[in-house]
Structures are given as C-alpha cells and as structure tokens.
C-alpha cells in the first residue's frame, strides 16, 4: 500500500513537470541560470551577425555594440547632402549587396524593415527576409523618393530593421 501511494505521488509529480514544460499554461514563469557572453552585432560569434559587404563599411557601422545603417554613407559622407526628391535610387545590387546577416542561432529568424516614411525598401523582395538557422542572406536597398517633400518631417527617414 505504501509503495502504491509512493508510486502515485511520483506519477503526479512527473505529470506536473510535463505540464509545466509544455507551456500550455501561459502564466508559468521560469527562472534560469544563465552563463555566457554578450557579443556585438558585428562580432562573428554573435547569434545574429551583421556584416558590411565590400565597399559599404561606412554604411554599416556599430556603436555600443549595436549596428546602424546610414544609407547616405552609401552615396556620400557629406551630411549637408541628401537623396534627390522625386527620384529612384538603387543602393547596392544582388551581386553587390550592402550588408549580410548570418543566423548563428538554432531558430529561424525573420528580418523586417519598418520606416517612418514610405519609399525605402530592402531587397530581396518582401517576404524573403527569412534566414534559416545556420545560414546567411545578403540585403540591399531601393529608395523611391516620390512624393517626399524636402524639408518636411517625412524627408528625414528613420526606420528599424526588426529581427525576430
């Protein structure tokens, strides 16, 4: 009898462990002991590695470990200048991309470009921003400035490349 009770208790505990692990209960929190290092975006040991491609080292820069992309640098480093309005720019090509992202993690990641103003897009075409674990992908830009009025708030374009 005593062994039976013990077995029942053990089974219950095992089932509880299984339920907790399944994430079926969304309010469960986990405490984990972690050890490891934090790497800058451009460090080849980082989980997601950003790298400037040939000729674009001034475009893809890193500050405090975080990559930023200044597209004006692809054309000219004179901050007094900008992209012509009512124009179409190709910045980089498939054969000569601006930057490269390597996914060193063990899960698939997806990049998205969200900008404050329409017209700036990242290539390859939207929907092809997924990078499988252990692979890398090249990116370049097109910039259609149609309808963007110089001097207006929309003329200063900021955005984010989201990695998820």
């Amino acid at each position: 009898m005593k062994r039976f009770k013990l077995s029942a208790l053990v089974i219950t505990v095992a089932l509880l462990v299984a339920v907790v692990g399944s994430a079926a209960l969304s309010q469960i929190t986990f405490d984990r002991s972690l050890s490891g290092s934090v790497y800058a975006d451009m460090d080849p040991n980082a989980a997601i590695v950003f790298a400037a491609n040939n000729g674009y080292s001034s475009v893809v820069t890193q500050q405090d470990g975080i990559v930023s992309i200044n597209l004006a640098q692809a054309i000219n480093n004179d901050t007094a200048l900008g992209f012509n309005t009512q124009a179409l720019f190709n910045i980089g090509t498939a054969a000569a991309p601006v930057f490269n992202v390597t996914n060193n993690s063990d899960v698939e990641i997806t990049l998205n470009l969200n900008t404050t103003t329409a017209g700036l897009s990242m290539s390859p075409a939207a929907g092809d921003y997924t990078i499988a674990a252990g692979t890398s992908k090249d990116f370049y830009f097109t910039f259609d400035t149609t309808g963007i009025v110089p001097g207006s708030p929309e003329a200063t374009i900021t955005g984010k490349i989201e990695v998820r």
Binding site: R3, A23, S68, F83, Q86, T115, T156, I161
Partner: protein, 175 residues
C-alpha cells in the same frame, strides 16, 4: 516492480518536459531592432545635384555665344555614367526657333518643329560638375526643355533616376 514503473514514469515525465520546453518559446525568442536612416533633399543640395533645372526661366534670346543656364554635379563617391534625355515641350505657338545645348563638351541641336527627344551620354567623375550652356535663336517666343536623368555607377551599385514631374519640375524655359 512498482519502483521500476515509478522510475520509468519519472523519466518519461522529465523527457516530455524537456522536449516541450524547447517548443514553449521560453528560450527561443530572438528580437532586435537596428536603426536605418536616410534624408531627402531638393535637387540643389542632393547627391545628384542639379542647378537651374527647377522650371527656370532664362531670358537669353538670340545670343551668339553659349550662355550658362545651369549645371549638374556628381556628389556621389563613384564615377557615374549619365544619360540625359532632353525633350522640347510647349511648342504649339512657337514657329521658328533653334537651340544648341551643350553639357560639358557634348552638344545637341534642336530646330523648329523639332519635338523629338535627344540624348546626352556623359561620364561624370565623383565630385565633378558640368556646365549646361545654350545658344537660343527665336522670333520672340519661348520654348521649354524637359529633362530626364539616369545615372549609374560602373558596378551598378548606385543607380539614380530623376524624372520631370509637376511637383518637382526638371525643365528650363528659354526665351
């Protein structure tokens, strides 16, 4: 026997929890936001700099020597192969006119009833500027020249298209 069953169940439970944890999202989320920036400028302070093309009205009739009516400048880091297409417009009332248009050292000529577009093919090195000059003959009436620009670096990594639009005219009137 019961002890073996208990151990088996515990092992099974732990295995289930281990595998389900990997799918739970608790350890799999990766998220980062990285900034991108750019700025749009008018043609006179842009990477492909145009001066004198903003629907400029030029009073130059019947000059015998070239008169400067503008310039183009390559403010990019690379040498650009530039194609400039010029098309006379607003000709309905103009009966007799001729124009010799020169950009850099390349020249094209237009004459009365000439509505066909003509093209300049130029190489503009980084940082260099080319003057746009004209000799214009008319019997007192004006014409307007509409421009379209296409500039491309040798590696095709920089490609620029500039059109003549109502909101951003790239045209010059000669009178």
């Amino acid at each position: 026997m019961r002890m073996r069953i208990s151990i088996l169940l515990i092992t099974l439970g732990l295995a289930l929890s281990f595998f389900s944890l990997a799918k739970s999202g608790a350890l799999s989320a990766v998220a980062a936001n990285r900034p991108v920036s750019a700025r749009v400028a008018d043609d006179e302070s842009a990477f492909f700099q145009l001066k004198g093309f903003n629907n400029t009205d030029n009073q130059i009739s019947n000059n015998s020597t070239y008169k400067n009516i503008g310039s183009i400048k390559n403010n990019t880091r690379e040498t650009l192969e530039v194609s400039i297409t010029v098309r006379p417009v607003s000709l309905t009332t103009v009966k007799n006119w001729s124009a010799s248009l020169k950009i850099g050292s390349t020249e094209v000529s237009f004459s009365k009833n000439d509505t066909a577009e003509k093209q300049f093919d130029l190489t503009v090195s980084s940082g260099s500027s080319l003057p746009v000059d004209v000799i214009f003959k008319t019997a007192g009436e004006s014409i307007t020249l509409s421009y379209q620009f296409k500039a491309m670096s040798a590696s095709n990594t920089t490609v620029i298209h500039l059109a003549d639009t109502s909101s951003t005219p790239r045209r010059q009137t000669l009178r």
